[in-house]
Symmetry: C2
Subunit: 499 residues, 2 copies
């Protein structure tokens, strides 16, 4: 009897986020929707992650309108989004009411599957959003951020899956954002989850392809019973992106396992995005091969290039190797957080500062918060000396409760601020403002000019055009605030000397 493997395609969200800095214009996605909707995917990831930010920051496009458009153009397929738990799509913790309202609005506009993760794998940071998704009658997917450390054993991840299941999650996602999941651990992890949580527990695997091994990991995970995998139409796949959808389909021939995908539809979408890709040449990742050094450094590729650019602007481009060695030490000091937005930026920036100014001579505000528990719990204990420095620096005590418990109701306040920033009075606009208070006012002011398409006729683009360099901190001399742009997202970093 043939077993069916379900597939989620990422072309409308993570594929262009990973390969072309989230810049693809909605009008360049619309023509592919009919083929994608009829191809037989379990779901299409099309919203969340960095798309919300990119819409209002770069594309002058209302992200809520994008969602409504996808709902209309993809009537047959479940829509899926990536949600950063209590951070929603922003970079701080929101009070529970804001989280609930965000989820309710996304569900109202047609979102079906909410993939919810926390950068520290602290599941207390997922509970409000998971509960809100369940209340909306939608699919709540609890997420394990896969990482490698002495504490991140198969058993530890399986336990986490069990706790997510007990929390009411409809499925478990293993999210391998750095392509660190090798075939044997993939097999062991899926098998472990199926054994502990029951074989009917839906397991959904998301790997990037950066290291070149993860299509093999898919094969072994599928052999262990994995139910759904994430891929991207091949013309927008590989490198720091994902494994190609068509290759996955072909790979299974003769195994007794097949997808429900229609190859003719896939090839039509492939040919279409092949024509779109060169239009975004100036944003395209220049990595097309594999990067296996990640296995040694455990540092995602995008993070390395950002640290390199930070160092160069400090005239310290020769320190990259030192910083690469420092990152695992900072991870250990901070209890081995996975490296994913925003923990990757927090750990990476602190490693740069440690190398430039001496270990923990200067702490970023965010790193102090991480040490003091304001982002949640990490799997390992934190270094007590550095915690003490963080306490002095941040002038506040460590906490052990769920961070959002400490937040005061903020909806009315956000609504008032949004309205004075020319929001249109809808809850959607308040949520947009809440997530990007610096960017939203400008967007509200220019919204009626309509979306911009940053794609260009490749014949008209100069070959040497590079992606705009990331903004980086100037030489730190005392407490300062910086806006650090990382993978197109602005991250606010506060720096002060530690005593």
């Amino acid at each position: 009897m043939t077993r069916i493997l379900e597939v989620t395609d990422l072309i409308l969200r993570d594929a262009h986020q990973s390969l072309m800095a989230t810049r693809m214009a909605m009008e360049d996605m619309v023509p592919a929707c009919e083929d994608l909707d009829n191809a037989g995917f379990w779901s299409l990831e099309c919203w969340g992650g960095a798309t919300f930010d990119s819409c209002i920051r770069f594309l002058n496009e209302d992200p809520w309108e994008r969602l409504k458009t996808f709902r209309k153009l993809l009537p047959k397929t479940k829509l899926q989004m990536l949600l950063r738990g209590q951070n929603l799509l922003g970079y701080r913790h929101y009070e529970d009411t804001v989280v609930e309202r965000f989820v309710a609005k996304a569900a109202e506009h047609g979102m079906d599957v909410f993939r919810v993760f926390d950068a520290l794998n602290d599941i207390r940071n997922l509970q409000t959003s998971i509960k809100a998704v369940k209340k909306s009658g939608k699919h709540a997917q609890g997420t394990i951020c896969y990482t490698v450390s002495p504490l991140h054993t198969v058993e530890a991840f399986v336990d986490m899956a069990q706790r997510l299941k007990e929390m009411g999650c409809d499925s478990i996602c293993i999210k391998d954002m750095a392509a660190l999941l090798k075939p044997q651990p993939a097999y062991d992890l899926v098998k472990g989850i199926k054994e502990k949580c029951g074989k009917d527990t839906l397991v959904h695997l998301h790997c990037h392809s950066t290291t070149g091994v993860t299509l093999v990991s898919y094969m072994k995970a599928i052999e262990a019973g994995c139910d759904i995998v994430d891929t991207a139409i091949s013309s927008l796949s590989l490198g720091p992106g994902h494994n190609p959808t068509e290759s996955l389909v072909e790979m299974l021939e003769g195994t007794g396992i097949e997808t429900r995908l229609d190859m003719a539809r896939l090839l039509k979408a492939r040919n279409y995005f092949k024509t779109i890709r060169p239009r975004y040449k100036e944003f395209l990742s220049d990595i097309t091969g594999v990067e296996t050094e990640i296995f040694q450094s455990q540092i995602p590729g995008g993070m390395i290039s950002n640290m390199e650019s930070q160092l160069k602007q400090q005239g310290a481009g020769d320190k990259l190797q030192e910083v690469l060695l420092e990152v695992p030490r900072v991870r250990k000091v901070s209890g081995f957080p996975p490296l994913v937005t925003p923990s990757s930026q927090i750990v990476g920036t602190q490693a740069v500062f440690n190398v430039l100014m001496g270990p923990y001579k200067v702490l970023t505000g965010e790193f102090a918060d991480l040490m003091l528990g304001y982002y949640g719990e990490t799997i390992g204990p934190k270094d007590p000396e550095v915690m003490e420095k963080a306490r002095v620096h941040a002038k506040k005590e460590a906490i052990t409760c769920r961070p959002a418990e400490l937040l005061k109701p903020e909806w009315e306040h956000l609504r008032a601020d949004a309205l004075s920033a020319k929001a249109n009075g809808t809850d959607e606009d308040v949520l947009t403002f809440a997530m990007f208070p610096q960017v939203a006012p400008k967007f509200f002011a220019t919204r009626d000019q309509g979306p911009k398409n940053l794609g260009k006729d490749p014949a008209a683009t100069p070959a040497a055009a590079a992606a705009p360099a990331a903004a980086t901190p100037t030489k730190p001399t005392g407490p300062q605030k910086y806006a650090v742009t990382i993978n197109g997202q602005v991250h606010n970093v506060t720096v002060a000397a530690a005593r």
Copy 2:
């Protein structure tokens, strides 16, 4: 107990043949040799295939000197070459003495492992070279060209492996030049060979990466007991090339199987070739992603782009789809030959002519020879009507014997011709002349100017520079001879109207 998987690296031959039209200069390979020699490879493929042709045609380099240099620079590692059986490195059948002398000379200069294949999988075309390799005391690797057709079952390939073993081959290579070998057939094939030929039979797997599935095929083949696999250092891997060596090493973690490779050496070689690759920008394949349509058309990527260029020059660029559909029909008519040099060119050119001028209205001389058995036997029967056309066209009868049986001794004749073309009197020069009689005289005349390096400082190369277009036949009006350049190799095609 840990099992060891052995690895052959292709960076010095097939990697640059597949990705940069075999143009890499010897001086660009020399600096990597120490790391490659100490990395722990089973062998390094560094000679044969198209390198001999490329050396004398483009690089003004003596291929025999290249071999001697590699032997000096790679003292610890077995050298490996690809040999086209009775065709040696040329495009016709040679009389047995020529084959014996070629093998003896290559062995004398340090070649260790001879991978011998025949484009039709007719093992009678391997017997002289295999015997010569054994006589030299070297490693004879018998090769199965993997292809897909109704007749190419696992059982048929396993039988072929058994016959190769009986012929005295030291190992069996499965050569998957078009990346058609999927994981389950890879498993079944290796398992079948181990069961039928004995578990001590060395099985060596060579896959290209064009379709994106073959690293998974490696995993399954290894699980079935495959002993050696072919990969390429990652900075010259993927696309129409091969799977990355570093990814293979990492992929095995936790499986109880490991390689003997030193990752630090691999990464040094990786970084080195990363700096070399952009120097050959004008020759670089523009395919960096995957091409899964090959599974439908069974036509290797390089063959498609060549047919496209032939059609365009005939003003028939819109006929490509028709030609793609015609290729499988030509394969059926001619007994399902695998598509590899030179059968890929013969079948492809005939398909173009069938579409342009009607089915078998015009036959190439080579296609007629293929139909009449002058290249050897195919797995399937041939179409009798087209065979009759071939007989009339070529004015000769079909044969069933080993084609080289019909050849008269030719060594003295070749020696005399080589000497009048200014060969230096060595057997090596006679062999060079024998393989490329049109090109060798010019090479002999300019040899003392020394090798050319076609690599260029990437900053000085105009971005839009394209690879030189392949020469293609002009409009056929009667019997004509054409020199068709395919993947940088000149192939002589004779065309006459069939009656």
